[in-house]
Subunit: 326 residues, 2 copies
Amino acid sequence: MVEWECPTKPREASGLDPEAVHLRMDPGSRSKMVPPEDSPYEDSWAGDESVGSGGIGEVRETTHPDFSVGDIVVGRLRWADYDVLTDDDDLEEVDLDSAPIRSKLHVLGHTGRVAYVGMTEIADLQEGETVVVSSAAGSVGSIASQIARIYDCRVIGIAGADDKIDYLVNELGIDEGINYKATDDIQSELAEICPNSVDVYYDNVGGEISDAVMNEMNTHGRIVQCGRIALINAEGGDRPTGPRHEGLYIKKRLRREGFVVDDHEELYPEAESKLEEWYTNDQLHHRETIVEGLENTPDAFIGLFEGDDIGKTLVEVSKPPGERND
Amino acid sequence: MVEWECPTKPREASGLDPEAVHLRMDPGSRSKMVPPEDSPYEDSWAGDESVGSGGIGEVRETTHPDFSVGDIVVGRLRWADYDVLTDDDDLEEVDLDSAPIRSKLHVLGHTGRVAYVGMTEIADLQEGETVVVSSAAGSVGSIASQIARIYDCRVIGIAGADDKIDYLVNELGIDEGINYKATDDIQSELAEICPNSVDVYYDNVGGEISDAVMNEMNTHGRIVQCGRIALINAEGGDRPTGPRHEGLYIKKRLRREGFVVDDHEELYPEAESKLEEWYTNDQLHHRETIVEGLENTPDAFIGLFEGDDIGKTLVEVSKPPGERND
């Protein structure tokens, strides 16, 4: 049972008033739905402000010199049919000619940057390494997996459904997939698939899947803690327990590092340039799961934690330009 | 009940035959007393070879061109009253004039290098940071704590006895000490002592003490996994469990890294030069716990895990030159 009321009133009067077209659903937003002191993000939603996330909108009214009515913009929008923004909100006009506009909400936007920074800067990925990605058919996971493939790495994706494994192997060209729901022993499967162990683990889930991968890490392996979707709903209560890995860190000289992409803005130009190059060269694919109607936003968000979707889940609040019947 | 027989036969005929003077007791040796596949070290002792560790010896017989009878050498020696070494064994002659010879077994030797590499290379310690060291009165811990003090950091040492805290604060000049056996709530004590949180945690113990420190880490904090003395005897059986920290890694952008100093030989000249400079300038102190008699080696080793000692525990197999009555 979800209680959520679509807000319909602007936050305050302002000069830029975009109508929402698409809203991006991110599991990381769950971490903002907590008291500020428990959130990794500065813009926690503990107050009575409405929830928001990345979105695409069309400018309806504006007195801002950089924008005109009809501009398509991408930035942080409320989960609402429109928002009222100020100069401080970081809005960017979308070039409709360069790529499908929704790509700015995933592969050519925030999601792509997360995968790029995590794989290149945090993991320090090297060509030819063995890489495991958890939640590999998800939005960040599928881009992270493909970046590793572009680096000529051997890539193993972990996901929770056969259609996801099929997508990873047959559409994205990932080397191997493990359906964790169809095995009792992820570690043994990994050991068989990766006789040379795992150099980089791009972790989006945490919990027992990650324990299994930890046990198969190679010497000097790196674990990128990008998400912990298996644990995120347990936070605030007693913290879940698991096996201690202190000995493994020493034995294998492992490095685990958590990151939030906002800390790495200096890498955005490089990330965007690389992602656009790969996307244009057809080396990087991305699937969308579109949920129609603002009123379905809470269900779309909760679905992220139930493993429903492949690729990026977007809520379509209204049809984008070019897909309208009017 | 310890079963251990002092070996008295040489391993094989060779050209260099030193008599042991001192043997260094390292908790890390525990990790070699396991099957090779479970050891972080290449020279695991799963076979029937006798146990060894760093030691100081006096050359009794030699056909090696670089050594003469009577030379004092430091290197890896068996836990025995003499050893027979080959060209492959990495022995170094000790300069008796430069420092007390036993310092080559700790502050100016392996122990000092471990602390130096862990603090500078792995932690990337910066001046003025807040640093916590566990097992801070131990051999590596006390040097790591003093290096942080030399870097003008605020240093908090965790140890298990009031005399150790007294040693840390009043002899070594560490800012604060926490006796973990005298508190029910290490985390609250830390929070009070470190209102700005912990930038670097130099971890020698693992387990519950480390959980407490993890919860007080600052954004972009680094955890150096140097040892895990609280857990090391549990390895091989079911791995101990503890709270999962995946969420903390992201929220605080933490980095944890395990290391084995042997991987960083390129830093040894720098480490030795710095350690010798600090030692000569009286900025670096080190206490020894001397256990007399080869037959007491097993008890001396086991004592490491019972928190008996301050500083480096050495077994004195025979008196060193200068301390002999003959």
